[in-house]
Amino acid sequence: MSEAPIFDGDLKVLGAEEEAGVVMMTLESPPQFAGARPGQFLLASANRPGAPLLGRPLSILSVEPELRFGFGIVGAGTRVLAEVAAGETVHVVGPLGHPFPDLADDVLIVTDTSHFGTLLALAEERDIAGQRLNAVFVTRPDDAPAGAVGAAEQDSFVLSLFAGVCNDLIATPLDGLEAALDEIGPAMIAAGASDTVMARLQAYAEARSIPGHAALQAPMACGIGACLVCIRRLRSGEVINVCEGPVAPLDAPVFA
């Protein structure tokens, strides 16, 4: 896998729809993306004057018939990407990173809007395989900043994406996280969410010896392990390059 070819070039935008500050985008799918799996990502940047230099890491949702991903509008990079219309091109580097490792059939997804792409990819893959997963989705306070729209509106749109492909889906504010987890009693967890959520989840899983995997995020430059920009600290004292993940054992990272 890690020696597979990586595509680097412009791809035509086939579709782009924005709702509640989230954009779902599809591009032509070049052959290098065949076989890409949940957890893997691409770097995308708008070919527009004034766009940031660096591509933004975004999880791959599916690769056929079209290359599909979705992103929340967060800062300058995603803002200009959101302006790109069908017919224009986007610069793409990928597929990058490694997919989730083998997961239990009944692995529980824990996520929130900030990391929805990576976990939605997993939920969709399992749905297609006829194996719908359960998910816990942590919502934000209504007044949390979420760009132009309200956090509640954005969260509810993202929830609707999971609702279509999950079995049980529990939406809970952060203080209900443990209760929601107790309700399901997971044997294994696949998670990606903001650090506050992850710190509580890590403690919960550790207390109950539940194994799991965490999809990490960090700002990136090269996406392939060359620049050492995308580091996250581990509890061992080491650091890892997120782009060489982005999935790590749930008990490994420091969630500050």
Binding site: E3, A4, P5, I6, D8, G9, S45, P52, L53, L54, G55, H91, V93, A218, P219, A221, C222, I224, G225, A226, C227, L228, V229, I231, R232, R233, V239
Partner: protein
């Protein structure tokens, strides 16, 4: 494209194309994107004698159309580098040029000696590391400290030495002269410019507070330094700083470089070096010139 001879001689090492990676922005993993053998040389991230962690995150931010980085040269150290990293660059069809650095002259020389037996094409001396024997000021800021470091490395190896200068030096030509007088075979002009980037609350964006500015904003400055050095000295120069387009390559050649190193543009578009090599071949063909005709062509 391959019909055009783009080869240049950089301080004793023949490069099949005058485009090489800027250390710290490239790795063997780029071989998944393009054939590494098309590059003039393969230049891994700077290696330091001992393992070291580098700076905490955040390590990079965009500013003024360029990047500001404070990676802090994390390194696996020489042993692990030679055992685990270097093999991944071998047999790719391009010479390996290892970027080496240290914070003391004796350690610098020992590292260079150690690397000498590894079948490299050249050793690049990253002289921008804080020099602990001179109050933490980078070697390349000062002609005497540069001379000391390069001379010690010269004594330690028979390989070509490429000396990477700093645009923060007040007298870059003096530093260049010192590097050449001490036995440097070529100069890389140059590393990043010390810079500060703040967030909306006035706090540094990088954990290390300051960092090094690279990309488009430094090009006019590094181009001027190349021009000054090329007017004063007869030494092969690798232009580095903000190379992203064919025009940038031609500019560095016109100013006196015989090759360019590409960093920021590789981060932003990984295949940039390949596109530049193709575009340069095309330019030479269309204009009926050899690549060496482009060096200081209007001076």
């Amino acid at each position: 494209m391959s019909a055009v001879d783009l080869s240049v001689d950089i301080g004793g090492l023949r490069l099949k194309a005058p485009v090489v990676p800027a250390s710290g922005t490239f790795s063997y993993a780029h071989g998944r994107i393009f054939p590494l053998g098309r590059l003039g040389a393969l230049v891994p991230k700077t290696v330091m004698p001992e393992p070291r962690p580098g700076h905490p995150a955040p390590r990079l931010t965009e500013e003024a159309g360029g990047l500001v980085n404070a990676i802090g040269i994390p390194s696996v150290g020489t042993d692990a580098f030679i055992a685990d990293v270097l093999p991944r660059y071998r047999d790719q069809g391009a010479p390996i040029v290892v970027s080496a650095s240290a914070d003391r002259v004796d350690a610098f020389a020992a590292l260079v000696a150690r690397l000498s037996g590894e079948g490299l094409g050249a050793i690049e001396l990253n002289l921008s590391c804080p020099n602990l024997e001179a109050g933490g000021r980078a070697f390349a800021l000062d002609p005497d400290e540069t001379h000391r470091a390069v001379a010690a490395c010269r004594a330690a190896t028979g390989l070509p030495l490429w000396c990477k200068l700093s645009p923060n030096a007040g007298a870059p030509v003096e530093v260049a002269k010192a590097a050449v007088a001490a036995g440097g075979d070529a100069l890389i002009v140059s590393n990043t410019m010390l810079a500060l980037a703040l967030d909306a609350e006035g706090r540094p964006r990088l954990a290390n507070r300051t960092g090094g500015l690279s990309g488009a904003p430094v090009k006019p400055v590094n181009l001027r330094i190349v021009d000054e050095i090329a007017s004063a000295l007869d030494v092969p120069i690798i232009g580095c700083g903000g190379v992203a387009s064919l025009k940038d390559v031609l500019d560095y050649f016109a100013a006196g470089a015989s090759a360019v190193a590409v960093g920021t543009a590789t981060l932003s578009r990984p295949s940039t070096m390949i596109h530049l090599i193709d575009a340069l071949a095309d330019y030479c063909l269309t204009h009926g010139v050899g690549v060496r005709d482009l060096i200081r062509r209007a001076s």
